[in-house]
């Protein structure tokens, strides 16, 4: 067993546990994007940054890939972490503003502006689909291609793969392409659509049991009262 301190609370965990898992065990929320249970940690999005160590030696690491160490001091929401995280969300917004998951993160972390050149990518290269295909579906039909600016995910030669069974697992796990924001002002990086419209379920009873992506939902809260 290894004992470490997270936000001042001591916790003992099994060797090999990541900081993320230990923090989850204690109930400290750490946002993640590329991490997914059942897939090997990959550390692509850096959203799960935490600060480890103390004083000038303190550094930021991705908690989903960093294994717990004896006596490690971790802070999951220090000023430095929050700043880094906000920056990462801004960068994600800059590349992929259509993703509802990213937009929700932006609202949650109160990001009010995005200072980079706006792009409209479909993919944030988190590699969830690649790992899903390889590790859970045992197909390895898609993978990373190229590098740097030209890195992309897809099948070799961009032709339908003969090992793909069209299971849809890759789409299921994608944080960028499943839930789309269909806001009306594409120039604006930050959608805020959900926050501004009054949801139809407020007015119409027939929407009551429809599947709804709003979480937490203002309308439901109002109705409950």
């Amino acid at each position: 067993m290894i004992t470490l301190t997270i936000n001042g609370l001591e916790v003992s965990v099994e060797e090999g546990t990541t900081i993320l898992e230990a923090a989850e065990f204690l109930g400290f929320p750490i946002p993640t994007l590329c991490h997914m249970e059942g897939l090997t940690p990959y550390g692509a999005c850096r959203l799960c940054v935490v600060e480890i160590g103390e004083g000038p030696g303190a550094k930021l690491v991705s908690s989903c890939t960093y294994r717990a160490e004896q006596g490690l001091k971790v802070r999951t929401s220090s000023a430095r972490v929050m700043k880094a995280r906000a920056m990462i969300i801004e960068l994600l917004l800059a590349s992929c503003p259509q993703s509802k998951i990213i937009q929700d993160l932006a609202s949650k972390y109160e990001i009010r502006q995005q200072r980079f050149r706006q792009e409209y990518e479909d993919c944030i290269l988190c590699g969830r689909c690649v790992r899903m295909c390889e590790e859970q579906m045992m197909a390895k039909a898609i993978g990373f291609r190229g590098r740097g600016q030209n890195r992309s995910i897809g099948t070799p030669f961009d032709i339908p793969s003969d090992v793909c069974r069209q299971c849809g697992g890759c789409i299921y796990v994608c944080p960028a392409c499943t839930l789309r924001c269909t806001y009306t002002e594409p120039e604006k990086a930050i959608c805020g659509g959900c926050a501004n419209i009054s949801p139809p379920c407020i007015q119409k009873d027939s929407f009551n049991d429809l599947m709804c992506y709003m979480d937490p939902c203002v309308a439901c809260e109002i109705k409950k009262q």
């Binding site: 390895k140 993978g143 291609r145 793969s161 090992v163």
Partner: protein
Amino acid sequence: MDEQIIEKVVIEHRDSLGGILSILTEIQSKFGYLPQDALRQVAKKTDSSLTDIYAVATFYKAFSLKPRGKHLVSVCLGTACHVRGAPKIADEFSRQLGIKSGETTRDKEFSFETVNCLGACALGPTVVVDNHYFSHVTTAKVQHIIEQARKGFQQSDPRTDHRIFKIQVNCPVCNHTLMDNEHEIDGAASIKLAASSSGKKGTIRLSSLYGSSSTDSDGDFPKGNVISIFCPYCREELPSELICPECGANMAMMTAGKYATFHICSRYGCLGHMLDITSQTQDSLKEMKG
């Protein structure tokens, strides 16, 4: 697509560390690019997934998935070359060849690419054509470079190139000369040696120009295998004193004049060689150069 060629390449490198890279490099040098079928075959033969092979093939700039031209023009756009006007040179090449960076001319003569630093910044703007470096390139020189490439760069001439000189070697056991005037390589008498490996016998001939790695052999030895090298006259195996700095195999020794010994690596295909001069007097050098 010649299936056997691919098969041979794969078998040669299958067990080596980083085998995929060696396999792809060799296929690229054989075909000039990586054909789709070749990648599929490599995946099958190495028991890995095509996705992984494709990831490696697209990651490295040295690999091309499209057929490349006979001549490859690389214009450096690194920082040092850039400030010295490399973009203009790249434009000029692209104008004269009629293709953009990354493309190949329709007659398959030239491929043109831009690279980021060739490691010769002081000589910038730098252009490399078929492994020949051109320094301080100006737009006026572009046409000349293209013409030269069309004609083909001549091999360096041993009569004018001081880095290349002839050596004469003898068998260290029977002292018979190993020079073969009958059979010339690089326009000079070759060094004749007998070789054997796992039952196969043959003759190998080396260029006697120090600095050239041309060889000729009638034996069918697999590349990468260590072979035994004999004197063709006294049939004694050549002694070994050194270890090849390139690959770690034993080196076969020959004498080169009174004061020097010449060593070659016994791994077939390895270019490791060394001239060991025991007493570096003017006399011995003269004698060696013969």
